[in-house]
Symmetry: C2
Amino acid sequence: MRIVILGTGNLATQLGMALHAQHAEIIQVYGRTGTSASDLANLLGCTSTTSKQEIITDADLYILAVSEAAIPEILTDAPFRDRLIVHTSGSISIDVLTSFSNNYGVFYPLQTLSKQKAVDFSAVPICIEANSVENLEKLNKLAKTISDQVFEINSTQRRQLHLAAVFVCNFVNHLYAIGEKLLQEQHLNFNLLKPLIAETAQKAMLFSPPDVQTGPAIRDNQKIMELHLQMLEQHPAWQKLYELISKDITRFHQV
Amino acid sequence: MRIVILGTGNLATQLGMALHAQHAEIIQVYGRTGTSASDLANLLGCTSTTSKQEIITDADLYILAVSEAAIPEILTDAPFRDRLIVHTSGSISIDVLTSFSNNYGVFYPLQTLSKQKAVDFSAVPICIEANSVENLEKLNKLAKTISDQVFEINSTQRRQLHLAAVFVCNFVNHLYAIGEKLLQEQHLNFNLLKPLIAETAQKAMLFSPPDVQTGPAIRDNQKIMELHLQMLEQHPAWQKLYELISKDITRFHQV
C-alpha cells in the first residue's frame, strides 16, 4: 500500500513514524509550508512537495492529517481522483469527503499528541470508518499494523468520542495546570501532586469513575467547600469553576 | 511507639493497615459505631472500644482519622491528656488541637482513598507538622516507616495543597465520570478512553501541564467548540462547564 501523507503537524509526524516503523510504504509528504514537509519526509525516508499539483496521483491511500478547516482547502483542485482518501479528525463527518472521491474513510487515532513526547501507538485506539466494505477492510489491515485496538466507529459516535476526550484529556490537563499554579503560590513543588494524579487515573482503569468519587463535594462538606471558595478569592474564574463542578458532582450523584 | 487510632473510615483503615504492615504497635481502635471499630481492630490485631472513656490513656500517639467536623467532638472529654495527638486532615489548621494537648501535630497522607482499592503507601506523600521539634521528629520517623516521601508542610501550605488536590483528583475524576456517561449515550465502551486518560496523566509526570495542553480551546478552534456546545444541549450543566473551562484555557494561555 503506497501512502501519501498530507500534513506535517503532530499527528502527521507521529502517525507517519508509527506507520514507517511497521514498514508501511510512505512515498510522499505534502505540506503547505517550506521546510516542514521536507523535514518530515527525511524522517520517513520519502519525497516531499509543497505544491499541490505535484502530489503523486497514483498512491493507494491519501491520509489527510490536517486541521478540520484545512480539509476542503487541500482537496479542492487536488490532482488525485477517486483514490482512497481518509481524514483523521474526531469531530468531522465522513461525508465531508463525498464530493472529492468515490473511495473515502476516516482513520482517527484517539490520543493526545504533542511534540514533546512520542506515543506508543500499539495501545492507541484507532477508530475507522469507510464508504465501502472493501475500503473498511483496507483501513482495518493498515490500522492493525500499528495498533492492537482498532474499532469501527460511525461519524455520530466518533464526534461523541471526541467530545468525551475533550473532557477526560484536554479539560483534565487544564485542571492539572490549575493545581500546579496553586502549589506555586505556596512555593510547593508540583511533584507533591503526582502520586495523586497517577492514582486517580489508575482508578479509572479499574472502576467506573462515579463509584470511586471522593472529596468535599460528594461528602457534602459545606465547611471545606466554603473555605476553598474563600481561598480562591484572587482567582474568580477558578472560584466559579470550583462551584460549578462541585454542584455538578452533587447533582450527578443524586440522580 | 504505642498507637491508638481514632476513627474507622477509609483513612483509618488504610493508614492503620500500612502502619501494621510495618510492625507499628497499634494497641486500640476507637469508633463511635458498633461493629466498625471491632472489624478494623481485627485487621490490626488489637483491641477496640466504642466508649470514649475506655480509650487507653497512656499511648504514645493518638491518630485522629475522622472527618474535620468530628475532631472537637471526639477530643472534648477524651480521657487521654497531653499525649501526642495528630489529625489527618488537609484543610484544618494544626491549631485546632491546641486546647486539647501540649503535644500535637498533623499527619496528612496526600492520596485519594476508597474502600475498593488498597493504596501503596510507599509512594504517598505524607505531610507532617508538629508543635515542637521533638514531636516533629517522632512523626517524621513514623511516616518514614510507611512512605519514601515525607515533607514538613505548614498549615497554610497544607490547605492549599488540599485545594489543589480537589482540582487534580476529585474534579478530574468527575470529568472522567462525564466522559463515561457521554460514551454510554452512544453505546460506546469506556475502555476506549482509557489509553487517553493514562497518557494525559503520564504526561503530567514528565511535563509542566500548560506546556502540553492540547484540544480545541488552545487551538482556538471555534467551529469545533460550537459543535460541542450544540451536542451538549441535553446537558446544560456540562455545556456551562465546557464553556467555562474552554474560556479559562484561553485566558490561562494568554496571560
